[in-house]
């Protein structure tokens, strides 16, 4: 205590406002570089185009014939998002387990056992590999993944499933790893002190703590996947997105409106489902 600084709450910080200043500079630079012109939104020309587009969307096309035709793509979108998420969860879990520091080499589970150098290396290498792979999966946008997979396996829903599975697998893997690392360590120490093995500590200590967060985040990602599958349709990955793109190209804006309402409905339904699941998990 005696050698500590007088005010330990405020260690020497020369420029407390430096970070705020930096953030402002970054924002200003971004504004300039992206050529932001909010006024363009309200200029005569832009306003006319927008009004034509929005006006064209009303009334939405609710003819039985069109709705019946869209039932297939709607189901495709749902299936695409679910299959994509299943793939993403599998990829995410497979990469999160080696990418979670506390499962490999850090924290209370390794305090005593991991002092020998070779064993430490054996634990760190898979970690670095998994983290690198996760970064790669996330660095490539899902649209680019979709383009790649359309090239590879042809048009249709399957490349969409692959694109969502791979892109979201990277995101889920990172989040899962972070959730696992963020779990309270004291119960793990207690479990370990009974002589429990690694897998038992994982199932008794980490899973119960991590599960609610992991499930709730996965459900949120499912919602994102439904929206994403609409965009992926634009590059030929099937589902509602493909229909939106077609209707846009045909200037059938009232059909676009119907399709957007369908996406809205899907997102709302996933929201209801995830709220219900979260309530049960609490």
């Amino acid at each position: 205590m005696s050698s500590a600084p007088l005010d330990p709450q405020h260690p020497r910080q020369p420029l407390p406002y430096l970070k705020l200043l930096l953030a402002l500079v970054a924002f200003g630079a971004a504004w300039r570089l992206t050529e932001m012109q909010p006024s363009a939104l309200f200029a005569a020309e832009g306003r006319r185009n927008m009004l034509a587009f929005i006006g064209g969307m009303f009334p939405p096309d609710l003819s039985v014939d069109f709705l019946q035709r869209m039932l297939g793509p709607l189901l495709t979108t749902i299936q695409l998002s679910i299959a994509g998420m299943v793939l993403a969860i599998l990829i995410g879990l497979a990469l999160a387990l080696p990418a979670a520091r506390t499962l490999r080499f850090a924290g209370v589970l390794h305090e005593v056992a991991l002092r020998r150098r070779r064993r430490w290396l054996l634990a760190v290498l898979p970690y670095a590999g998994a983290r690198g792979l996760l970064n790669l999966l996330r660095a490539v946008p899902e649209l680019v993944w979709a383009l790649i997979f359309v090239r590879a396996v042809g048009l249709g829903a399957f490349p969409g499933v692959l694109a969502i599975g791979v892109a979201y697998g990277g995101i889920l893997g990172k989040i899962y790893a972070e959730i696992i690392e963020g779990v309270a360590p004291q119960p793990l120490e207690t479990l370990q002190s009974t002589g429990a093995g690694k897998l038992a500590v994982f199932c008794y200590g980490i899973v119960p703590q991590a599960l609610p967060h992991a499930v709730s985040y996965t459900l949120y990602r499912w919602e994102c996947a439904i929206r994403a599958s609409a965009v992926l349709g634009f590059v030929g990955a099937g589902g509602i997105g493909q229909e939106i793109e077609l209707s846009m190209r045909m200037f059938n804006f009232h059909e676009v409106m119907t399709l957007l309402m369908m996406v809205f409905g899907l997102v709302a339904i996933t929201d209801l489902i995830s709220a219900a699941v979260r309530r049960r998990l609490r």
Binding site: V112, E189, T194, G195, A196, Y204
Partner: protein
Amino acid sequence: MSQAPATSQAMSGTTACILRLHLLSKRFGSQQAAVQGITLNVRRGETIAVIGPSGAGKTTLFRMLNLSLPPTSGSIIFAGSPVASLGPKQLRAVRRRIGSIYQQHHLVGRLRVLHNVLSGRLGRWPTWRALLSLVYPLDLGDAAAALRAVGLADKLYERTDHLSGGQQQRVALARVLLQDADLILADEPVASVDPQLADEIVELLVTLGREAGKTLIVSLHHVGLALRYFSRVLGLRDGEITFDCRPDEVTPLMLAELYGGDRVFGGRSRQADHASAAPAMPLPTTCLHFQPPATAT
């Protein structure tokens, strides 16, 4: 691999001491050492109370003794084998023989009580049984019996974080009962229960331990309990042992020294002038070399 013969050798040789500490120290970062130079022999069947002010290093000592925290220096010898040289498998085997109750009980709140109690069996169960038990609880009768012993028979299926603090502490106690360890370490096991219950729990711990021939090391803030139920009392202050006595040898002066002095509120500040201010009390006071009492009450 080379430790197995060492253990069996120890069983025949130094059976009297289950635990031997030699100059055990722990320093966190650049802080003053939390535990410094503790040398201690613990005989089988002894019941030891550790008392001392907040921040004395009790929890740190316990975490080293249950092999959760590696010491900065010094050695721990459990049942004849130095734990620093144990491989992962042997480490598990030794941990299984040491049961711990943590100050903040540290249970898994989202699991049902029965799984927290049954986790005392994790050291003995093969992994597949551990996983199966989460779905289809095994040894349910033993868990129920342990809960009955701590007065929580009706909470078997409750979610653990729905229990009160004192009830959770008793769940931790039930878990240790199920673990059936040779050495039981309890860090403040009665911190969050009422005095009446504290008395009962400590008595339960000591009698159960004594009947089953367990060795007990319990830290307590309640000096009365320490003096009443235990065969040996350790005073710990600023990471050092200040006395190591039978309960009837503990004097008020020793307690005053332990808790009083020039302690800054919340801090750790025994320094040179303290020793000169109290020349009557060289540290550590050792009234050791006593025989383990036949009955201590």
